[in-house]
Symmetry: D2
């Protein structure tokens, strides 16, 4: 049960509400976000919710039987839009492409990538400065210094930054240099990290776990929201399966289901979703026609020389072609009025 | 190794070829299909294939290192087109929709479905008369009598029939009444059935196994081709995964990969691919933009009353809307020159 | 619902029963096996089953809510024992080892294997004469002639034969030469084959599908039982997963669950269950301590030269060691009174 | 490549070694643990390793081609033993049982559990004070205060403590109160946490990820070792699969494979491995006969009232029976001289 509170609800009104819920054995969680105040009530007893809905200080009340509550579309039927400023929005009709290398490698690479984005009117650049790697002996990213360097060039060119955060202590230093915090597949159920990202006012892109269920993804998003941050995007990036012909199984089914179950924007990552360069375009277009609000993809001036993920990274020419196709695909979907 | 033979190769020329291959320890299989004669050579020794390519009676020779040979695109770069007659073609540029109920239930249902197809200019009707069911106590189809009834109406209206064959002994009686034999997911590695379907001159739609790999699907197709029938379509219908939010995980990755690895047409089955009616449209469109040559989908006058699979079956209105969207999606893909 | 009938139930008594069930909208299936007569009633209406239980000609009546009925332990709490004659029994306290090559290759190989079995007091020999192979170009077995040759030696030495049957038409010719028909993983839902094996009075070992659920396995067994053959064994042989360190994931969980859900004997196949020779012993012992009634394993005089599956096949010395360990493990389990 | 250094290697000797490795384009990592000093060299060039092995200051040198190095059995053939003090050892012949509730709930529960352990001569108690939960609204554990309370009773009774750590900042406060840090399945690739646990001198039990590969598990252990902590145990706790008859698929294959690939002790968690109380015993015994060095299992005075995981938790009577069976099973395996 989600109870939306009036922003000016008095302490006394709040007490009465808490008492009422306690009387029917509901446990409550108070949530305050950028956009509003809520009480989440969890309990089993049946009772007439109108007895609460009519209390003063209450804006609205909704039954939500799913394990996830605040991220559910059952109480908020309009899609959430993430506004990054400078007319860069995602969701509720706004479509974006995010492109860039797997890892930030050098100043020259940053400049080259930004030029490619500008040439193709792409507003958001992806790139890793903290890299989760299976082996401790692999390249683990340029870290905070790489981020500052990247930020300098991105800001000068009006490009927004999305990059992965791996642990709580990185959030504060990264805060001023990123536009979207990305939570990677391996941290999809790192609940302390999710809690902490709920306490900042910065958009979060949350990737589905390597073998995460859609329900787990939505509950992970609930961690962020219930800690105070409503600005969340859900990202399908392929799941692990028995098939060996590619890297991951891109779960196209996830797109319409997440859109139906949640009001949050849905982003697709075709690069990890199939993991083979020549097939990235088909998967990306499929994601868009199925309803994705954004595409995040790996692009590199010279994929063969990339520090990581080169096998699934597009070169600039392939990227430019795909960007154009994605926009045509998006336009077709909009024209259908789906 | 695939050796294409001239149709008029002499016995003597053939003997010389077999001797040559035996001398380098290659095992050989002779294949004669509707379209040509081939010898498949399997061996490990390296030798100069030009010494064979220049022998008389030989049209061409190709190295194919995959486990599958004749269905590979490595020797036949042009896409195969399946021609059902009456201007109904699939593959190599030709796109079709196949629609109809999970099970053929009654004459009234047949007539109603055909009218829906005619109204929407769909030329191929799907439907089951032999139904593989997990439980022996479930409805198992109307059988041969149902097929004959269906055939009568379909033929009168210029509609082609695709239906599942489950065992070798059914092939001969069904032969005159079907336009495409369908091999279901549970029979995807029923090798005796595949062998037998290789001996008839009738198109076969081969579904991927419930947890079949793409390589297994292509090798299953190789069974049919190597027994003499080149008229094969590959069908992606979703794979089994851990996710419980839907019935199967539609493997969108399979579409571009099958198209790249094989010259055979690729068909997508979004109904089984996600298994939930309201999401079938997103998956179907995704399959088409990713390159499918045909869509096979479940449609019923009243899905709630269908004998089987009602939860994933579209009603006529939903079907008509989707057919229109699929054609627009296909047109966009063609216009991109992918 | 399972209704056990008296063997001498009269036609009139049967009619009354059918009428009664029809009156509560139950669909019925009559089943006659080696051991008894049953009616399976499938319906949803609640009614007092004593009104049937007290009718004449009825031995007993049981509610079974599972999708599988006759193979369920809910009506038959005692374990089924398969008796192959000559004091070779499986299940309900009797433990057996089945060993032999993947493929029957030659008379010398048959003789050698039988000698190994005799040396180790093993009474059942496995081996394939019809081999399901992913590729049409692989060795597909010696067929009926190989079976006859094998039978001659096995019979002379008191060894029982288990071998795979792949299609309905093979059953009749194989019938006189086999002691147990094996249904392979790829045919686990070949329902026509299961139907036909239900019509013979010969034990059947049914392997779980490559990604089959336990429920599907039990329903597949229900096909055989409901067609008239109660002599069924269930076989766990590993399932397909994402892990690449071995061939299949042996599902140890399946053993106690199948034993709890069904009265049928459970056989484990550690050779396919892990697919790597040096680890077969650990998996086999695990299967036995977990409750398996039999072990089926691949053994070859010289695994390196086996026509198929050599990588997971034990040599005679490894086999002898393991057989001894399996018997000790079994003895420990019996002593625990699990 | 692993180069074991003499503890008294001089700076000059070390420089010469680094120069030598740089000259063949090897990247190096220096590792100092409780037990020794190592250099991990990663490179592709072939060279005669004796030219290094004979340098002064070098104890030994080993080629290890796996992605994981220090945890590999290729350089350390003897099994590692974890010594918790007070004659409580795990691995290299020493076998232990760890038992206790999913969550620490109250002082009474702690006392009751400890009495159960003492009654059955179990030396290690498991329990969670920081609980990773899918939903933010679930009980998340008693935290540091619960741990201190538990420690007071455990220490007084000679019981060792294993409990989960979820984030880097928890390590220092927990340090004095735990005997084994547990890393849960969801944190199996939380690389910052692994790095930090490598910097403490306290044993770590590392659980396999929910869908982790064995190779990923070993590389995760490599993170801990390469940061300085050799005292690691690997834990198989079931993987995610399509099967719905139980919670997880216990991967019995993992036991012999991990034992063969690594020198680290292997622990099995049958409670999560199958997730259904009545089947825990079969899975636990299977794990032990297959070679596990320890079993960790969930036990509660009254599983029906447990705050979490009650459905897979044994009561004291079931636990006592299983403990006895596990010791018998272990004794059998030892007697076999596997």
């Amino acid at each position: 049960m989600i109870i939306q509170l009036e922003s000016d609800i008095s302490e006394e009104q709040l007490s009465r509400l808490e008492e009422k819920l306690a009387s029917v054995q509901y446990k409550t969680n108070q949530v305050t976000t950028q956009n509003g105040r809520y009480i989440i009530g969890v309990g089993k007893q049946e009772f007439d919710i109108r007895s609460i809905g009519t209390m003063s200080g209450i804006r609205d009340i909704h039954r939500v039987s799913d394990a996830f509550k605040l991220v559910s579309r059952k109480w908020k039927v309009h899609e959430t839009q993430i506004d990054l400023g400078d007319d860069v929005c995602i969701g509720n009709g706004a479509f974006q492409i995010m492109a860039g290398p797997c890892s930030i490698e050098s100043e020259a690479q940053i400049e080259s990538t930004i030029q490619h984005l500008l040439d193709n009117n792409v507003r958001i650049m992806r790139g890793g400065v903290y890299k989760p790697r299976s082996s401790p002996y692999s390249f683990r990213g340029l870290g905070q210094e790489g981020l500052k360097l990247w930020y300098k060039h991105a800001r000068a060119n009006g490009i927004k930054i999305i990059t992965e955060v791996m642990m709580v202590d990185q959030i504060e230093p990264m805060m001023d240099y990123v536009d979207i915090f990305q939570v990677g597949a391996r941290n999809s159920q790192n609940f302390n990290l999710l809690d902490a990202l709920g306490e900042v006012d910065k958009p979060v892109l949350l990737k589905r776990g390597i073998s995460g269920t859609l329900d787990e993804l939505l509950q992970a998003a609930e961690y962020i929201f219930s800690n105070g941050n409503e600005r969340i995007m859900l990202c399908e990036r392929g799941i692990r399966s028995y098939e060996k012909a590619y890297r991951n199984t891109f779960d196209i089914n996830a797109i319409p289901i997440l859109k139906a179950k949640s009001h949050l924007p849905v982003v697709v990552d075709p690069s990890h979703g199939i993991g083979v360069r020549r097939y990235v375009d088909a998967v990306a277009m499929a994601g868009v026609i199925a309803g994705a609000d954004a595409v995040i993809m790996e692009v590199h001036q010279c994929p063969e020389k990339a520090f990581s993920d080169g096998q699934q990274t597009l070169n600039y020419q392939e990227s430019a072609t795909l960007i154009d196709r994605l926009r045509q695909t998006r336009a077709l979907r909009e024209s259908m009025g789906v």
